[in-house]
Symmetry: C2
Amino acid sequence: MARNDGRRRALGDAGLAILAREGARGLTHRAVDAEADVPVGTTSNYCRSRAQLVALLVARIGERLAPDPDVQAALAARAPDRDRFAAHVREIVARLTASRETTLALLELRLEAARRPEVAEALGGWMRDGFAGDVAFNAAAGLPGGAFEIALLHYAIDGLMLDRLTTSIDPGIDVDAAVDALVDRLLPESP
Amino acid sequence: MARNDGRRRALGDAGLAILAREGARGLTHRAVDAEADVPVGTTSNYCRSRAQLVALLVARIGERLAPDPDVQAALAARAPDRDRFAAHVREIVARLTASRETTLALLELRLEAARRPEVAEALGGWMRDGFAGDVAFNAAAGLPGGAFEIALLHYAIDGLMLDRLTTSIDPGIDVDAAVDALVDRLLPESP
């Protein structure tokens, strides 16, 4: 079981490297075998279909982008106000920026979702679960913003990441200053 | 000359169709020849390098996303306030949504820019010119928002389009309501 988990992680990492480097069209079971340096047919054993391969990659993105528990604990100890929430969002943006390959792979999968219903299903379910979790988290912690405001913030952060990881309209704009302004302006004053 | 312009447009349209359908990896001179149904070698005659092909596609995106002069004239006749600016942004979003293939092709090129410096150069120059034009337009028309605020709005609109054209975190959110809220909250009260 532990060995299987390690193998799954290795196949996931290989698939994400291919997505970031070549786009979704380069993603085949064979290409993942080669990238992970495992015998031909290994990826097919773990993922019978392309939909299963995509599901494995989505799960691996979730693992790779998971927050650092220490950082989260430090944030949770602060008063639940907009400053804390802004610190939380700055931490997410720093994580997405540092995980360049993962974030680019996720963007590639989103574009692939526009073409393939099975990708839209796997990725959409995970994204909507994450969004519902974000909305529930803010409500439970007494942090500002309902579903509508948090959706607006999601759009803006996605666009900011796209700007910084691909072509930027203005590389001189400070990322943290942009995040602070977005939180300040998009979320309501009181919860 | 007129015939050349028509041929360029046809090659551009073929390249954008390939980008939207298959991603950047499917984009080759040969594939554009086949998609445009022209003799093999035609695209190479017009675009000697891949960088020139990308430049042609960027120019074609600009043509395809150009605003309707009548709509622009009607907007320009209104008082320069946030309501007019919101109507302007709603019109842009409606245009990007209706031009699904073009907008997806643009997103594909942005991701390709993260991999290839020559794409980043062609696309980045066009995007920064457009952004500078937006900032100058608002300043000249007395509309609210400087470079920082307009950049925040760009990020948010890009993320909103990504949400609507690929996987959505909440398809129930009304696009026009989201645009109005973004303009209202991200741009300052007075110019």
